[in-house]
Symmetry: C2
Subunit: 404 residues, 2 copies
């Protein structure tokens, strides 16, 4: 079981989480639980650090933030014991997590499971601090992106568990955000590939890295709510559904990106590469690169989406490269959103993309950019149209009537 920060945000929620672990143990399971830092504790610790040092040292920041998960596991184990159930909390290093790589973005190398297995065999619930491991220098280090999800998946793989339950404040994976689309439906299953595409399309479910690890090591995931007893969504391997034909399983809406356009780039070989290299040098992530056809006297427009946070820096870098290339100017459009349909077998079914364009057109929604793969079709639209686009697509794909 893995409990995210919102699932252990206060003492009452910690007690409810502990009761889930206890119920599973009463049903005969050996239970290892990965616990995140309660609520906003990690963010609070980082804010403290930044008040002490504008650019805190990596080792010291890891020493600081790993206390958050230690608080989480200790409280979790106490809650189990207060209910008469033996339990023990372990830090990442105590639990045998070993990592390589730099502070703040270490990678799990292996898990020495001896101590965990000893506690499990003694009938104890083992609460393991997520997001941390023993680093190469003997200090505690934090894992990079993926955090506690990755700890849970790696531990499930090392312990060869039957499955890994990811508890959070969402009830599972929906056909679209139920706060926007009222007849959105919870999926019973989704494939790893689809969930990876959803994560890439801006759905905040699980970190891509932990999904990749789960798929590679065959860890069966169950994404479910910490606050409701209904089953959530099981994440299954692609093979289970190979014979099914193409269809859309879920929609995603992402307002976290903005559009940058280099306008009037002279149409010479290698210019697009130079633009992208300038961004790569800045470490700017780029999504949906579109180069317009050279319709206006031998000049192109090159557009792409990039995270809102780094947009100003990226624009500055682009303006420098634009001058060198003799391009006209750089435009930044912050009032955009990306709607995506995620599913399977799109490559062989152009109808799925066509349905999207028709539905948006029928609602008078202007499409700025399009990208598509076998598993995803995405359109960038004006932010003001985003929610009506999501509702239109949910209806057009018939997602409220489910096969899964």
């Amino acid at each position: 079981m893995k409990f995210g920060g919102t699932s252990v945000a206060d003492p009452e929620k910690i007690q409810r989480a502990a009761e889930r672990a206890i119920a599973a143990r009463r049903r005969g399971a050996a239970v290892a639980v990965v616990v995140s830092a309660p609520g906003e504790l990690t963010d609070e610790l980082i804010a403290l650090a930044e008040r002490v040092a504008p650019d805190p040292d990596g080792r010291e920041l890891d020493q600081l933030v790993t206390t958050g998960e230690q608080v989480g596991v200790a409280l979790f184990a106490m809650a189990c014991r207060a209910r008469g159930v033996p339990a023990v909390s372990l830090t990442g290093p105590q639990a045998g997590f070993e990592a390589v790589g730099a502070y703040g973005r270490a990678q799990v190398r292996r898990i020495r499971t001896r101590r965990i297995l000893r506690h499990l065999r003694a009938g104890e619930i083992v609460a393991v601090a997520g997001f941390q491991a023993l680093g190469p220098d003997g200090d505690t280090v934090t894992l990079g992106r993926g955090g506690s999800d990755l700890s849970a998946v790696a531990l499930a793989s090392a312990l060869k568990t039957d499955f890994c339950e990811i508890y959070s404040d969402v009830k599972g994976i929906y056909t679209a955000d139920p706060r926007i689309v009222h007849d959105a439906r919870k999926l019973k299953t989704i494939t790893f590939e689809e969930l990876l595409e959803l994560a890439g399309a801006g759905a905040q479910v699980m970190q891509a890295r932990s999904l990749e690890v789960a798929e590679r090591f065959g860890v069966e995931l169950h994404v479910r709510s910490a606050f409701h007893n209904q089953p959530g969504t099981r994440v299954v391997a692609q093979e289970d559904r190979m014979l099914e034909k193409a269809f859309v399983s879920s929609l995603a809406l992402d307002k976290s990106e903005v559009r940058l356009t280099v306008v009037g780039v002279p149409d010479r070989p290698g210019t697009a590469a130079k633009v992208l290299s300038a961004l790569a040098a800045e470490g700017t992530p780029v999504d949906m690169i579109i180069q317009s056809a050279a319709s206006r006297g031998g000049v192109n427009d090159i557009s792409f989406m990039t995270p809102r946070g780094g947009a100003a820096k990226a624009k500055k870098a682009l303006e420098a490269v634009a001058r060198r290339l003799g391009a006209e100017r750089v435009d930044l459009n912050e009032q955009v959103a990306k709607v995506s349909a995620v599913g399977t077998g799109f490559r062989h079914s152009p109808k799925i993309a066509a349905t999207m364009f028709e539905a948006l057109a029928a609602h008078g929604i202007n499409i700025h950019m399009i990208s598509a793969s076998d598993l995803r079709v995405s359109c960038v639209v004006d932010q003001k149209d985003a929610e009506s686009a999501l509702r239109a697509l949910h209806k057009a794909y018939g997602l409220s009537r489910g096969r899964r």
Copy 2:
């Protein structure tokens, strides 16, 4: 250097504490710093634990509260590094502290100083988490009473440092609480024995256990303010002042205790012992035991002082033993306070006790109980008289004109 919780209560204070360590290093010192948990963090963690489990497990409570000092040292090291000074934070186990005994009240067995010395030799300021050590089971345990003071004194002894500076929100040891006695004077020196007596008399300066360790291992202490640059009070060995004659160095006021009286205990051998055994069995600490002379037809009153917090439980235990002994009743007086004069050579100078009684009588202050040793005279008075008693004694002993 040791910085208490109030000295590192917020980012600004942590930065000021770091600057003190940096200044000492610039003067050529190798600096090891013991840091407490910032502000009220330890109490907040304990409150969280109690909301999760009414009687939290000892091991898990230690796993939880040790994160407080880890936060303190990480922030401290960051603050040093942000000023361009190499620094490293270490948990108690990383710093080589090893302890024996139970969770929550372990005792330092030794300190393996290799890692600390390596960092010090590399010119780094070493920030060590106080109040914690590696326990016998390989887990982090907290030290009992004395906490971070004890960590600092033990480390100073293990490293054979020239001295150990105890930084807190007080400027040093005063002749009396300066908030009550306006001409109270900061002492330049005080002996270990006097400071131990002051701690016993309710002055919240340093924990008795760490003073005992400092005295035994010859650690020179300097009690001083984290927020002012003036020197504080140096704690010196008794020998330095052997030739001086008896005098009072400081007054203490203690409102943390209440008086319990078993009234009308039949005057038979062993009754006092039975009363005290009943309290010992409850773990109730007892101070200033007074048995009145058998003046009323063969019955005694037995009175003593005990901490306010445990008074209700103690009264219940006493009522049980009072019934068995045929005593009349048990009285609880919560409106009392204890004023004490601490100094040296009282045994040979009855004038010091006499001065106290005369000064209190001259101000019409009623004395409930008296106890005296070579180093201390204490009187229990009504709580409403406590502060005027302190001022009267400060004047009677001439403490505003100092020899030290």
